[in-house]
């Protein structure tokens, strides 16, 4: 292409970028970039668009900044520029590696009168927990089915006061377990502690005891984590004000710390719904992955790699590869058995994880029996027993990068009276079709 033509195109780009930019970028720079793209065989139109996008992105010319406030509830994925007025409910630093370099980013939860949202700031921001801030030019993305708010280079933050947010923003919402979902905001919940365990964790280099378990009411069960010792005991009914909901692999969890109020309800009798939610079709999980304590039925159509007799690292529980642990090197492996299989009902599929206890019940065998079998024999037996069978599984469904992982707590191979069911099907069909 003639140099003059490239010059014309460069000027066109400069003009499109507007005055603000033309002072910083020379037409020569742009000409150079166009030439380079053309050398690589990029079509002219595409090259121009790419360059335009590159510069307009960092100078915010092509996407005008939003001027009016959006409520968190109304945020949608892939919004380019949003303005919000929120309280910082939590903020934590995190070290990540970007192209081999360590970088500190910040993540946390923001809340307003309509709900809460998780956020990530890619740079240090002058913000502390509980601050009321007005954020402009933030943008949204979708991550594992949840909307995620991001603060980038062009994001502006202005401190505000409590009076700027309506007072409902600070009032917890009265909810039941079934209402818990990501972004619901601060909650007011009465529930019974069904399970509780203590765990030592390291947060910001300090040891901390957290209390995690399962709570429930007449509408269902959910996992919880308490970051403060409320002296919680199993079977106690508590009234929790000021906790919030966090999502882990799509599962809603109740999280609360010392700022929440926990009252023990000694007299209140709460009946807890303990039967798992039965999903008629796996499709329900495809559309809403991440469910706590659900039951599904499907056909086992594949036993996946990594199933069978395995050895685990005694330190970290990871599965050994040729006698070696990724972190702890050569170790004396702890024997275990597991099955990873695809359960598919024609509307959706999950990768189901069956552990030793479940397999012993399903196969009427012990770990010792499997230990003495050849790996091929074990695989063959698992395939023979499970594949093409209808398996009813109960447990937790997790939204994973590679699909839905189903952690099985209980499994049963169903026997079907096909001719009876077929007769029933004929009846419904006569009526409907």
């Amino acid at each position: 292409m003639v140099t003059d033509d490239i010059k014309t195109h460069a000027e066109e780009i400069i003009a499109l970028l507007g005055e603000q930019v033309s002072g910083n970028i020379s037409a020569e720079d742009i000409e150079g970039e166009i030439t380079k793209f053309l050398e690589y065989g990029v079509p002219l139109d595409q090259a121009k668009q790419t360059i335009l996008k590159k510069y307009s992105g960092s100078f915010s010319t092509s996407y005008p900044a939003a001027t009016s406030r959006t409520l968190l509830r109304d945020l949608e994925p892939n919004m380019r520029s949003v303005k919000i007025l929120v309280q910082v409910l939590s903020i934590n630093p995190k070290e990540i590696m970007i192209r081999g370099d360590p970088r500190q980013i910040f993540y946390g939860i923001l809340g307003d009168e309509s709900g809460t949202i998780p956020f990530t700031a890619w740079h240090e921001i002058p913000v502390e927990k509980d601050d009321i801030i007005e954020v402009s030019n933030a943008y949204t993305k979708e991550w594992q089915g949840n909307i995620q708010l991001n603060f980038g280079d062009r994001t502006g933050i202005e401190k505000k006061t409590k009076d700027d947010l309506p007072k409902e923003a600070f009032e917890p919402q009265l909810v039941q377990v079934k209402d818990l979902h990501n972004g619901i905001g601060r909650i007011d919940l009465t529930a019974k502690i069904l399970e509780i365990t203590e765990k030592e964790v390291t947060v910001d280099d300090t040891q901390k005891t957290v209390y995690s378990g399962v709570l429930g009411d007449e509408t269902g069960k959910a996992p919880f984590t308490a970051w403060h010792d409320f002296d919680l005991k199993k079977n106690e009914t508590i009234h929790l004000i000021g906790g919030y909901v966090k999502s882990w692999k799509g599962i809603s969890q109740v999280s609360f710390d010392e700022e929440a109020t926990v009252t023990k309800e000694k007299k209140k009798k709460l009946t807890v719904e303990t039967t798992p939610t039965s999903l008629p079709q796996i499709a329900a999980l495809v559309e809403h992955p991440g469910r706590y304590d659900v039951q599904i039925t499907g056909t086992v159509i594949e036993i996946q790699q990594g199933s069978g007799f395995i050895l685990r690292c005694p330190e970290c529980n990871r599965v050994l590869f040729q006698g070696n642990c990724r972190t702890h090197g050569t170790v004396e492996g702890v024997p275990d058995v597991r099955v990873k299989c695809i359960v598919d009902d024609g509307t959706g599929a999950v990768s189901a994880l069956l552990d030793q206890k479940i397999l012993e019940t399903l196969f009427h065998k012990t770990l010792e029996d499997w230990k003495n079998m050849k790996p091929d024999e074990v695989y063959h037996e698992m395939q023979q027993t499970l594949c093409t069978k209808h398996l009813q599984i109960q447990g937790n469904a997790l939204a994973d990068r590679y699909g839905i992982i189903f952690i099985v707590k209980h499994a049963e191979i169903l026997t079907q009276d096909v001719s009876e069911e077929a007769a029933q099907f004929i009846e419904t069909m006569e009526e409907e079709l």
Binding site: Q281, E302, A349, T388, H390, A422
Partner: protein
Amino acid sequence: MNREHAWRVFAEEFNDSSVEIKEPGEMKPSYVLTPLGGKMNRVYLVGVLTDVEEMPGENQFVRAHISDPTGVFTLFSGQYQPEVTNQLLTIEVPAFIALVGKTRSYAPEDGDRVYVSIRPEKIFEVAADTRDAWILETCKLTKQRIEAMKEALQMAEPSEKELMNLGFNAALSSGVVAALKEYETPQMEKYPLMIKEAIHYVVNGPGPMESPKEASLEDITEAPSKKSTPSSKEAKKDPFEEAEKIVLQVIKENEGDEGSSWDVITEECATSGLDADTVEEVLNTLMDKGLIYEPVLGTIKTT
């Protein structure tokens, strides 16, 4: 990225498909779109493996057929699935087979037809009850597609969202909307009949149901069954059903271990008043139902 789930579909609906959907971009899955809106990348099916044939060429490549109550699936398996290919070559046909596989479509340049087939990923030898359970399940899921299609046909502008509001899942809703765009008019009479036939197969065992579909069989009506056959005692039996029973009986009497030759069957049936065309049509129907197969060209055997 979610795993593509395995659709349940009968051979008739699958083979009626003439549309392939490929999402733009590399490494994106392709789908066979059925007339009822199944957008299928993977299928799970159970049927009778009737024949496996090694194709000529340097690389090992086999073609096989699996029959269900409504028709026949065609499979191609080659060097990239050595395990399945070997399995297919060692299984003695006929055999009940469960199969997980990827859908494939092929449109020859000089034709206007699209051929659909299946590349098996896993196969398992199973028993008859697994096949019956699959027929039942496939009936139920096919019925769901029929219902979704019926609802969509009543909408002024069929949309995924509206279908999902009615309770249909996302995959089916998007498939139904796509099918309405790609296929001229879905044959809404044909598929309910197909599942009725299939489910009767489970309840009554192999054999034609009492009210078979109105195929073009007027000429059969004229075929008098002069000879008394085991099942002709009941007065008002459908003539085609009669013909099927006669032909099946003839094959059983003549097949031995090797199967019965087509000519022998035609001759024998002529004595029962069935002309050659009728016999051929009946043989095709019986093959579709999986009751008979053709181990060698021109030779028929019951399954």
